[in-house]
Amino acid sequence: MFSYDELKGTADQRWKDLTQGDMPWIRVGTEMNGHAAGGFQVIDAIRSELGARNIAAYVDEVGTLGLSYAEPIVDVLKPGRRSRLLFRDVLVDDLPEIIDKYIVNDSVPGNKAFAYLGEEPIQGVPDLRTIPQYGMQQRVAMRNAGHIAPADIYQYIANDGYAALNKALFEIGADTVIEEMKASNLRGRGGAGFPTGLKWSFMVNSPGPIKYIACNCEEGDPGAFNDKAILESDPHTLLEGMLLAGFSTGASNGFVFIRHGHDGPIDRTERAIEQAYELGILGKNIMGSDFSFDIEVSLTGDSYVAGEETALMESIEGKRSMPRFKPPFPAAAGIWQKPTTINNVKTLAYAPQIILNGSEWFSGIGTEKSTGTAIACLTGHIAYPGIYEVPMGLTIGQVINTVGGGVPGGKSLKLLQTGGPLGGVLGPDSLDVKIDFDDMAAAGAIFGSGGLIVGNEDTSVVDLIRVLVTFCQYESCGKCFPCRLGMTQLLDIMERIARFEGKPEDLDVCERLGKTMQIGSLCAHGQLGFNPIKSALTHFISEFEEHLNERRDPTGRTSTKFFSPKATRPYSEDFREVQPLEVISSL
């Protein structure tokens, strides 16, 4: 068992060795976007190139600075330097030059050098903070992402990690944690924007001793990857957030709920949990207090609806992830009927900073009703796709054009898809809308998970909507029929329209189906399942009408050939052999 001061002492010493020692420290971006850009091949090659030259160095896999477009980023801090030099788009073949020129000698190779980060300018490259993609960010939940190695708990502790937990346990106590969370006005980042402090307070008086905190990292929204990026970049921030939630609500256990197959986030979270147990930050009598808490990873299969909070609880219990009726609410009867609080990764990742710096500091960021930051994932036709943590209250236009660099290739922006597949689409007139919960809702959109997919002038709305509807239909869990059958009907109609075979009454039928789904579905998947079509009809009705009435596609880009994902049909030969039920009935 270690006290916080002991841990901090060790961590500070190690951090000094890393940053002021006599070996270079090389960090490589290997979050999923870095992975897809070849980050792991680069880090392997760095190790072997250094080995071949007999150079001793610290080499760490890190998460993301948000600049996914520039991955793999290789970030070198040389001994005696106070600034890091970042290289972008690094290929394995670039490494000999980078190592020989910059690490062995001291000249900056022109080719891939990107920017410096630190107090001391490096000749020939700009300060990373003057590049809007980094400079416009205000990183709170992702403050350590890309800076520290997720696999090293001491790097987290050296950067104020677990200081909030220490403060909560030994200085301010559980009630004040809840008060601070309430005062911060933090609203849940899982989609609905429910006030987090209030949610936590619901569970305080629920009976123990077993109570659960579940962290929702299902993140099935295509176009959103910030939850996974936090787990891959800085999993300890999440663990500390869960510990604060657990401590303040009197919970005993935590689950980190992740989709199977996302190896990066899963492995790094499990490694972080292991280290936390080793140092007595998880388990019994945490840091010498009388608070005990356990956390484990719980994996789910591929199911979008598993992200819905009651379906999530079913999945943790090992069942089909189909939503439950509410009430009872999770705070009264959740996982295995025990009191449960469910929060999104981002929501929990804010908690340590709120407790450490105070609610006033946090509510000073963003707007009055939407405090803090928004973590936007920019993808699609955008110059600089990435994950940008910016203060709430910037306009969508500022985020797209200033941070994201606008639409590339001299094309204009046609549409935006926000908040995941259920969020629907917006037109270019939405660029003035402020990113916060209320303004986005007033514009008929949701910020939701933070995904912002940009489509340029060539994009076919009919085509994109058909894909979104395909997604919603494919992912309907099937529990309630308005969603199960409604989505199927909507998909039929969308496919028909895309093939120029639409019927005149199709759009009316859509409206009616949408209404039924909204009224009759149990969870938001069905309730919002009509949203993609509804929003498209608001902003782009003429494109649908051209498809319908003139049998013409104004964009020339609507695919008429669809591939449909196969529904799982296990052991289909068995189904054929199943004998018909022989029902004998008598009066």
Partner: protein, 170 residues
């Protein structure tokens, strides 16, 4: 009114009693090896899928025995989640994302040409036993769209041509 239901067959139940001890041993070990404290039907299915790349029918019964659930319950879960496969995949598994980010960046062409080079219509196994093609709703690297994954290695900023080259070189 009285109802009797006769001959009610559970799909897959046909062979459940057939001895296939080697396979069953591997399944049991895979289920037992799970390290996370909470073991459920779903976690056991995922462990089986990790071990074999699919769910052999024997696993349904072994998991039922191990977790105390009925075979029907295990079936129910296995047939629900879309990542579970029920036939052995080929040597290499190629996943292609069809989510909206990847879609507008050109996923449809990649899917079409990948299927063509594998000699299949869509999702499925190539005849030569080399590749299995699967669609994925989101591989998680949307900023590098379009994204594919081959045996868990992600590749971003794909084009149909690059994807076909990668598949051919397997």
């Amino acid at each position: 009114m009285l109802c009797f239901v006769k001959n009610f067959a559970i799909p897959g139940a046909r062979d459940l009693t057939v001895a296939n001890e080697d396979l069953r041993d591997r399944i049991r070990q895979a289920i037992k090896r799970q390290e996370r404290p909470t073991v459920t039907v779903l976690s056991s299915l995922l462990a089986t899928q990790d071990e074999f790349g699919y769910i052999p029918r024997e696993a349904i019964e072994e998991i039922a025995v191990y977790t105390g659930a009925s075979t029907n319950d295990v079936w129910g879960v296995a047939s629900f989640y879309k990542n579970f496969q029920f036939t052995e995949p080929n040597e290499h598994v190629i996943e292609i994302c069809w989510g909206p980010s990847c879609h507008i960046m050109g996923a449809p062409e990649i899917i079409e040409e990948a299927a063509e080079v594998l000699g299949i219509e869509g999702e499925g196994d190539s005849v030569d036993g080399k590749g299995t093609l699967r669609y994925n709703t989101c591989l998680g690297a949307c900023a590098r769209a379009p994204v594919i994954s081959i045996d868990h290695q992600l590749y971003g900023r794909m084009t149909a041509k690059k994807a076909v080259e990668k598949i051919k070189s397997l």
